[in-house]
């Protein structure tokens, strides 16, 4: 059976309530994002054993590691390239990695400079301090070179 104005009730309801978009801001304030939403990983320094599993399993190659024969080393994360899959957390043998819960983080992650935005996840032993600063400047320099190459290639 065909009728007309089946959605009349809906229309009247909306007429009384006003536009849905009016309530959006209050609704966001009332319902914050869930506690275990996915963002970038963090490493607990005391637990990390510098085994390099997170580097091997990362699908986007966004984690870089530099280390010596012992437990000394550092791990860098290329933030904009991380797709928040959580593989590093799943496969970490010592449960050293957890996912960050900071709700403001998603704002700071809107970066398109994908060759320079590095973040230190962990630094241990002799790799702390000046060595880490040197490494960061190296990484940024390498990223800058890469951007230049791409720009030259595009013409």
């Amino acid at each position: 059976m065909k009728k007309v104005l089946v959605m009349g009730g809906e229309a009247l309801k909306n007429q009384v309530k006003g536009p849905v978009t009016k309530h959006v801001l209050t609704r966001i304030a009332e319902n914050p994002p869930p506690d275990d939403i996915r963002t970038i990983p963090r490493i607990i320094e005391d637990r990390c054993i510098m085994c390099g599993t997170c580097v091997k399993v990362c699908p986007t190659h966004c984690i870089e590691i530099e280390k010596d024969d012992k437990d000394n080393g550092m791990i860098w994360l290329l933030k904009p390239q991380c797709m928040w899959c959580g593989h590093c957390q799943t496969y970490c043998p010592v449960d050293a990695i957890h996912i960050d819960r900071d709700p403001n983080l998603s704002v700071s992650l809107f970066s398109f400079n994908i060759h320079q935005d590095y973040e230190m996840l962990v630094a241990k032993g002799s790799y702390k301090g000046d060595v880490a600063d040197k490494k960061l400047s190296e990484l940024i320099e390498a990223g800058g070179k890469r951007i230049k190459e791409i720009e030259e290639f595009r013409g």
Partner: protein, 418 residues
């Protein structure tokens, strides 16, 4: 035999190849305001009626299968859901089942992990179907329905976000089990939301079956009869709307679909309204499955993740699943290393193209958007074959039948392929 299979890919450069009787040709796509997906349609008209329709695909080949050969099995778990924007969980499900079988850990996966996988699959089917019939209403010129359906779709998106941490791409599955648990408080939070959504979907069904303005656009439009459907073998809801009762979940049950109480939906009419009703009823059925799964999760315990080694032993396996759009088929060859030797994806949209072109014959050109939308086009995941003659530069796009016939002839008479 050969006359049944007409050549779809006509060239119109000199006009000689046009189908007899056609006086106008309309080109749609690959970039077109109507279509979100890159496909090129050529519609041959006589007056306002369609004589014949052609399609060309292949504008969005991303080389994903090749990329998978350069990544490890573990990394590929997170690459494979990117095959499709909407049905990401089902691609991941087929992939992890392939890896489970090849690694030999099939029996170690607990019931709880399988239930969580099923919840993810069914939640995806719900939001995909709601999205589809919203866009269908938009194409039929009934924009109010688009906004109402997409408003209600947010309920299931919130549930998926709560459970997996992502809205569209839940990425819950891993070889050997699942990544995250569904604790009791989350299940309790989801149950009343599912009840609310059931009420809303019943209301959507009432609108689609009773409201005259939408029903007139869908009823008796683009009819694909059962006899024709058997020739062009559509799969998924397109086939079930034409009276082909085939569902992979019933035919070869995977995960725990044989232990859950659910019915397969199919209609015999074959018009666009029938495919719409198949999807609406399936949404209700999936919501019911979701509620059952959450009930069973309370009493089921088990290890979430079984250990799978990095290196997958030599072998090959073929698995399939019922995606929201149809039958999704994966085939993998492992060579004993930690990377796949070859991985093949056959996405559901490819199987439904021929059936959709059949629907257009003799219809009005005004009904084209609705008919084109009817099989839920998704070309970013559809793959195809193009053969290029190196000597002459001639290009041929072949379907499976033509390709097989040419290959058999070439082998039998020891001739070159072309």
């Amino acid at each position: 035999m050969t006359e049944q299979y007409r050549s779809r890919f006509r060239t119109l450069t000199d006009g000689s190849d046009a189908p007899p009787g056609a006086d106008h040709h309309i080109f749609i796509g690959p970039q077109h305001p109507w279509a979100e997906e890159p496909a090129h349609f050529i519609i041959h008209l006589k007056g306002e009626r369609v004589v014949e329709a052609d399609i060309r695909i292949g504008f969005n080949l991303r080389g994903m299968e090749k990329a998978m050969e350069n990544k490890t099995w573990r990394q590929n778990t997170m690459l494979i859901p990117r095959a499709c924007g909407i049905c990401s969980a089902v691609h991941q499900n087929v992939y992890v089942r392939v890896v489970d079988k090849l690694a030999g850990v099939e029996d170690q996966i607990s019931e709880r992990a399988r239930l969580i996988r099923m919840f993810s699959l069914e939640a995806e089917r719900i939001h995909s179907h709601i999205l589809w019939y919203g866009i269908l209403a938009h194409d039929a010129g009934f924009d109010t329905m688009l906004h109402v359906t997409w408003r209600d779709r947010e309920i299931i998106m919130d549930i998926v976000e709560d459970i997996s941490g992502n809205r569209v791409n839940p990425a819950l599955m891993l070889p050997g089990g699942v990544k995250r648990d569904i604790p009791k408080e989350k299940a309790d939070r989801a149950q009343p939301m599912l009840d609310k959504l059931i009420k809303q979907v019943k209301y959507h069904r009432k609108v689609f079956t009773e409201e005259a303005s939408i029903r007139n656009r869908l009823e008796n439009v683009g009819i694909l009869t059962k006899e024709e459907a058997k020739k062009v073998t559509p799969n998924g809801p397109t086939g079930r709307g034409s009276g082909l009762p085939f569902d992979v979940r019933k035919a070869t049950p995977y995960e725990l679909y044989d232990k859950i109480d659910w019915n397969m939906v199919y209609y015999n009419e074959g018009d666009i309204l029938a495919t719409t009703l198949v999807r609406l009823d399936e949404t209700l059925e999936s919501l019911q499955i979701c509620k059952q799964v959450l009930d069973q999760l309370e009493s089921t315990q088990g290890e979430l993740l079984a250990r799978v080694k990095q290196r997958i032993p030599e072998g090959s396996y073929f698995a399939r699943a019922e995606a929201p759009r149809g039958e999704d088929v994966h085939y993998a060859i492992a060579d004993g290393t930690d990377k796949p030797d070859r991985y093949k994806i056959r996405a559901p949209s490819l199987g439904n193209i021929d059936a959709t072109l059949r629907r257009m014959d003799g219809e009005y050109v005004a009904d084209m958007p609705v008919i084109l939308r009817s099989y839920d086009p998704c070309f970013s995941c559809t793959n195809r074959v193009m053969i290029i003659n190196e000597v002459t530069g001639e290009k041929m796009i072949l379907n499976q039948d033509e390709f097989a016939r040419k290959a058999i002839k070439a082998k039998k008479y020891n001739r070159p392929f072309f």
